[in-house]
């Protein structure tokens, strides 16, 4: 400090304080004097150069004053747009609020104006992952739209209104999610969550008297966090699978039940058909027999004989025959039955002849074209 000590023997220890106390006023005087000199030079030279008369400086003054007045007038006139309100402060104190239109204020140092847009809808969005009541984590994104509805409150109540609103939104979103369960948030609760968030935000904003109106709170569909997204997707898929399985089995039902009914109808129809057929056949057989019987009873003997011979003729003409006209069993007879059967099958004319027996063969010709099969089908139906 020694080298900094004033050499003129100033007893004051503090250099700054000393100078302020002793040298301050002269310094100021000097500045004022210098300013005077400068101004004097400015005006003095002009007056000196136009020694002829004062009209020219008077004109300059006049022009200066008119320009100043015009400038003030322009500064005093305000056009307030429809969507704006003007908050007028007189010496910093709130004085009045302008409605849209032409407005006039006092010149600048006396009154100042803050124009606030009260119609514009502003928006902010907030996205974060947060804990739900059941300690799950969920991604929530909320978009809030708001506007200023009281410009004086907006200006005078809270220092950083926009940041404050951000904070309020964040805390309201978190609180509502924190009171809800994950499933509720993810599924049906979305609109109700947004609704209560909006109520909470508006309530807090009113508490702070911020002059803000919340118009909507739009909550994007809440999503499970990226880390567990696949598991959530799978659960949703599982729900679809459940529905799919049910639908598939219902399709199966729709497939087999009508078929079964159809099959049942077929069984019934077949049975009805069978019944009709059997009865009709019986009636037919009976009618035939009855007519035959009527003729038979007129001439029983001859009819009997004729019927017998007809039938035997039909039978014998249709079969391979071996006629044995031997009495007793003294002679041994060889009959190649298998070959006879083969011939019967292939239809070749047999030429076998045995010495001791007359063998008559004839290829069975169907004499009776349509052999009646009276009870054949009936026995089949009896099963």
């Amino acid at each position: 400090m020694g080298w900094n000590e004033p050499p003129d023997g100033n007893r004051d220890r503090e250099p700054w304080g000393g100078r302020n106390k002793n040298d301050g006023p002269p310094d100021l005087d000097e500045i004022v004097r210098k300013m005077q000199q400068g101004l004097g030079r400015l005006f003095g030279r002009k007056t000196a150069s136009s020694e002829a008369g004062p009209p020219i400086p008077m004109a300059i003054w006049l022009v200066f004053i008119v320009v100043l007045l015009i400038f003030c007038a322009i500064d005093m006139i305000y056009f307030v747009n429809t969507q704006e309100r003007g908050v007028v402060l007189r010496f910093g104190r709130y004085d009045r609020t302008w409605q849209p239109g032409l407005n006039i204020r006092l010149p600048r140092p006396i009154e100042t104006v803050e124009l606030v847009n009260v119609e514009r809808i502003r928006s902010l969005s907030h996205k974060n992952n947060m804990l739900t009541q059941d300690e799950n984590i969920v991604d929530v994104e909320v978009a809030v739209q708001w506007k200023i509805n009281d410009p004086t409150q907006y200006l005078f109540s809270v220092r950083q209104p926009d940041e404050t609103l951000n904070n309020i939104v964040e805390s309201a979103v978190r609180e509502v999610i924190g009171k809800s369960k994950l499933d509720f948030v993810l599924t049906e609760g979305r609109s109700r969550v947004a609704q209560s968030q909006m109520g909470l935000i508006q309530e807090t904003v009113d508490d702070y008297a911020m002059g803000i109106l919340i118009s909507t709170v739009e909550m994007q569909p809440a999503k499970p966090p990226e880390q567990v997204k696949d598991a959530f997707d799978d659960a949703i898929k599982a729900r679809e699978d459940e529905q799919r399985l049910v639908n598939e089995s219902e399709a199966y039902v729709n497939d087999i039940i009508p078929r079964a009914r159809g099959a049942a109808a077929r069984i019934m129809e077949e049975a009805n058909g069978y019944k009709a057929r059997v009865v009709a056949q019986a009636e037919g057989d009976a009618a035939r027999f009855d007519q035959l019987l009527a003729e038979y009873s007129k001439a029983p003997e001859i009819t009997r004989k004729r019927l017998y011979l007809d039938a035997m003729e039909s039978v014998l003409s249709n079969t391979n025959k071996v006629l044995l006209d031997t009495e007793g069993n003294n002679s041994l007879m060889y009959l190649p039955l298998d070959r006879l059967l083969d011939q019967g099958r292939t239809g070749n004319k047999p030429q076998t002849q045995e010495s001791t027996s007359r063998i008559m063969e004839s290829q069975g010709a169907v004499v009776n074209g349509n052999p009646r099969n009276v009870l054949d089908s009936r026995s089949r139906g009896m099963r």
Partner: protein, 290 residues
């Protein structure tokens, strides 16, 4: 000329003096007037006010709500789980003189730090008694009343009024979050399995029911069909009996002959015959009979 300069000098001096002696308090401000560093007056309303230049000085304070937004803090819950809490608080200066004295010249940043310490300790106490679930689902008013209770002496001590405390975020530390994710994943897997199993159950039920129904339909149809067939058979038998019963002996003949005819209709049969039946009555002799 000289008087002109004098006039100009006075105007400038007045302007200069008034610039130092007039001050505005704006709508959102409070002010303290100091005289030689001593508080002289603090009850200014908004508007224009005067002071003596250089002797008196002014310090202005914010009258609006102020924001306290601290870095996220870690707190322990009653289950010894750590949570990261991010809160904000709203406060205002209620007594500018006290505030000026208590915060070393009205430093808002300094005041924020003091407030944060008190709020932290209040939250620490509160969270220490609660589980994570209670903390997450907790009501905002509970926390606020607690903090207000803990800061009841603030207006006296610091000239500050607490307006609101709200929690912006409660998060779990990363290492805990991952285990939460694991739990959520397991939970979802459980739900998925449940859905699928329920689906299979329902499907099985529906199919079994349908199968049963089909059996019932078919069996009922069989029953009715057999009844109808039986009726048919009965009716046919009745008709036969009524007709054939007229002459049983002739029916025997008629039916036998038909049966013979039918039995040997294939053409593959072989008959070994002795010509002594009635058919061969005239076979060996024309007189008939042997």
């Amino acid at each position: 000329m000289n008087s002109k300069i004098m006039l100009m000098f006075t105007v400038i001096l007045v302007a200069f003096l008034s610039a130092f002696s007039i001050f505005q308090v704006r709508q959102w401000e409070r002010a303290i007037l100091f005289e030689f560093g001593e508080i002289k007056r603090s009850d200014y309303t908004a508007g224009l006010h005067f002071k003596i230049p250089w002797i008196q000085s002014i310090k202005k304070f914010e009258a609006r709500l102020l924001n306290l937004d601290q870095e996220p803090q870690r707190f322990m819950t009653s289950e010894k789980k750590e949570v990261i809490v991010h809160y904000f608080a709203k406060w205002r200066i209620s007594d500018v003189e006290q505030f000026y004295r208590a915060t070393s010249g009205g430093d808002v940043f300094y005041a924020n730090n003091l407030l944060a310490q008190r709020i932290n300790s209040a939250i620490r106490d509160e969270f220490g008694h609660n589980t994570v679930q209670q903390v997450v689902a907790g009501d905002r008013d509970d926390l606020l009343s607690l903090v207000v209770g803990n800061t009841a002496r603030l207006p006296k001590e610091m000239g500050i009024t607490m307006m609101d405390v709200q929690i912006k975020a409660i998060n779990l530390p990363d290492e805990v979050s991952s285990s939460v994710y694991e739990r959520m994943r397991a939970e979802r897997t459980r739900v998925a399995k449940d859905y699928r199993a329920r689906g299979s159950e329902a499907a099985e039920r529906i199919q079994a029911n349908a199968d049963r129904e089909r059996e019932v339909i078919l069996a009922g149809a069989y029953r009715d069909a057999e009844r109808i067939r039986g009726e048919g058979d009965a009716l046919a038998t009745e008709i036969y009996a009524a007709s054939f019963g007229n002459n049983e002996e002739f029916y025997g003949l008629y039916r036998s002959l038909n049966a013979y005819r039918q039995s040997f209709s294939s053409g593959k049969d072989i008959m070994l015959l002795q010509p002594d039946s009635e058919f061969f009555k005239y076979f060996n002799t024309s007189e008939g009979g042997k």
